[in-house]
Amino acid sequence: MSRASTGSRSIVQILVLATAGVLFALPLIAAASFGFTLPEQGFTLQPLLEAVADSGFAAQVLQSLILALLTTVASFALLIPTLVWLHLRAPRWLPLAEALSVIPFVVPAVALVNGANLAFRLTVPGFITSVYSLVPFYVILTMPLVYRALDAGMRSFPLRTLYTAATSLGSGPVRTLFSIILPNLRAALVTAALLCFTLVLGEYVLATLLLHSTFPVFLVQIGQDHPRAAAALSVITILCTWLLLSAFSGRGLARRRRAAAHTPATQPSVLPDVRTPV
């Protein structure tokens, strides 16, 4: 009897997951067929190519990629030395630093941009009007996730021991950073960079309200005249996000599976709190 009951329960679970899968796939399939077809013509890239040809598509994509790269570099340049210092020299400040890093969670992007406008528009007028003024705010938006990813990375290897060993062998702090600490942080760096890229490439609120044109802003613009092209580009964007994130979650799950061998309760990972602003 107990075998029968587990068997029937399994069917319920398969039903739940299959229904969820179909419901979640449906809008994507519909959008893809809307974006990549024309009535009585079948599959075509024509609407997409038309919309992309006469506008600054490549320039906007490039702009977003540059912003993503700058955000990643700036986050790393700010947070890696800070975290190394915190762990080696000032561990009692770790709780405060971590508490500060999660404040962006409670500040909606729209409130941050309103405050930034109030604080900088009149005092430093040249700052907000430059598209690169987005970078520090993107560093802030990604900070809760990037800080945690890097912090977890630092805790995953004996930082102090390795640092001391490197110093005793005559390595200076800079050399230790590049040849000892960064290689050990590789996994965390990849995770953090993926998070930065996913967030920045999709970020709309700050860019549009500070009147800068990035890829999502461009997407909204062409959505007004070329709905099919917008749908096609959306599907492409979602698929790219998928690729970026599945690289990330695949690694996260592998790590969790390894951790599960030692502890029955699942370890808290970076994953559960991850949510890019929408």
């Binding site: 899968g21 979640f24 959008a31 110093t167 994130l245 559960p272 949510r275």
Partner: protein, 320 residues
């Protein structure tokens, strides 16, 4: 066990050595000896390396927050006033606040219930492994979707010219958008659920996977039925995790801007959209009122997240 304790020993040994070596390292470029000894006696010398981080947070995060709060209690001439905060209580803005809260609460509760179901299915399904792993990776990705691409995907699917709308109308002659406009309240609920359900699933999955099989076996051996086990054992154990996750979902949809903006074409009566109008100058520019609305949002989300923090602390204590 022993490798770990060896590591701890090594680390504590390294901890004794580290200050001397790093001081020696600094001596080459550092200030003269007597000045250095003064610096090293200052209680805050550990803070030197943290100055860039604290300064960055202060300028780009705390300053904008303070600018919001400050502007919300000052009028345009710079005098103190509570008028803007009081205006939140007037009909127009109060209805937007209530509408945003209703949307957030509905999507958090519905998304929470459905997400819990998906998480349970993910945690307990064993046989077709591919279905489990596909849906798990799907949940991770879908929980991250949102914003403009998701909005356009929904417009292409069930908007007024959407594929599904047209297919339904061709098949049955019934116009889907009559009953269910994408830009209406329930239209937004459906779009938000697209990321709320998978987000809930991955938020509660660790807690559900933390449930031991022995608990259900021992409850059953003590004579508890399935319902009693669910109500008296599972519910108390999981409720902090579930409550915390639902609060995160609430905060998540409360602050969402881009999805609602793109789906409704800026027409939704939601607080983030109104603040957007204040910033881009589409309404008579009243900085103070815009700042008051932004401050109100931050207060609501801070309350939700504080509550979540307390609940999550309880969860981790339980599952340890």
């Amino acid at each position: 066990m022993s490798p770990a304790s060896n590591l701890l020993l090594l680390e504590s040994a390294a901890g004794d050595v580290a200050p001397t070596t790093s001081q020696a390292g600094r001596a080459q470029a550092g200030p003269p000896a007597e000045a250095r000894s003064v610096i090293s006696r200052l209680p805050g010398r550990d803070l030197i390396g943290l100055i860039p981080y604290f300064a960055f947070i202060a300028v780009f995060l705390l300053l904008p927050i303070l600018a919001n709060v400050w502007t919300s209690v000052h009028d345009n001439t710079g005098g103190w006033t509570l008028d803007s905060l009081k205006k939140i209580g007037t009909e127009q803005y109060l209805s937007a606040f209530l509408n945003t809260m209703a949307l957030s609460a509905v999507t958090a509760l519905l998304g929470g219930a459905l997400g819990l179901l998906v998480a349970w299915a993910l945690a307990t399904l064993e046989r077709p492994r591919w279905l489990k792993s596909v849906m798990l990776s799907f949940s991770v990705v879908a929980s991250q979707l949102g914003g403009i691409p998701l909005a356009f995907a929904f417009i292409a699917a069930i908007g007024s010219q959407g594929m599904i709308t047209i297919a339904v109308s061709d098949a049955t002659g019934w116009d889907l958008t009559d009953a269910f406009a994408l830009s209406s309240f329930w239209g937004l609920v459906v779009v938000y659920l697209y990321f709320q359900v998978p987000l809930m699933a991955i938020l509660v999955l660790p807690a559900i996977m933390g449930i031991r099989r022995e608990w259900s076996e021992s409850a059953r051996s003590l004579g508890a039925g399935r319902l009693r086990y669910l109500v008296q054992i599972m519910l108390p154990i999981l409720s902090p995790a579930i409550g915390g996750a639902i609060l995160l979902l609430f905060a998540n949809s409360f602050s969402a801007f881009a999805t609602a903006y793109a789906v409704s074409g800026g027409g939704a009566n939601l607080i983030p959209i109104l603040i957007g109008f204040f910033i881009s100058g589409n309404v008579l520019s009243d900085q103070s009122l815009g700042a008051a609305l932004a401050t109100g949002m931050m207060v609501v989300i801070t309350l939700a997240m504080l509550l979540r923090h307390l609940l999550v602390r309880r969860t981790t204590r339980w599952l340890k």
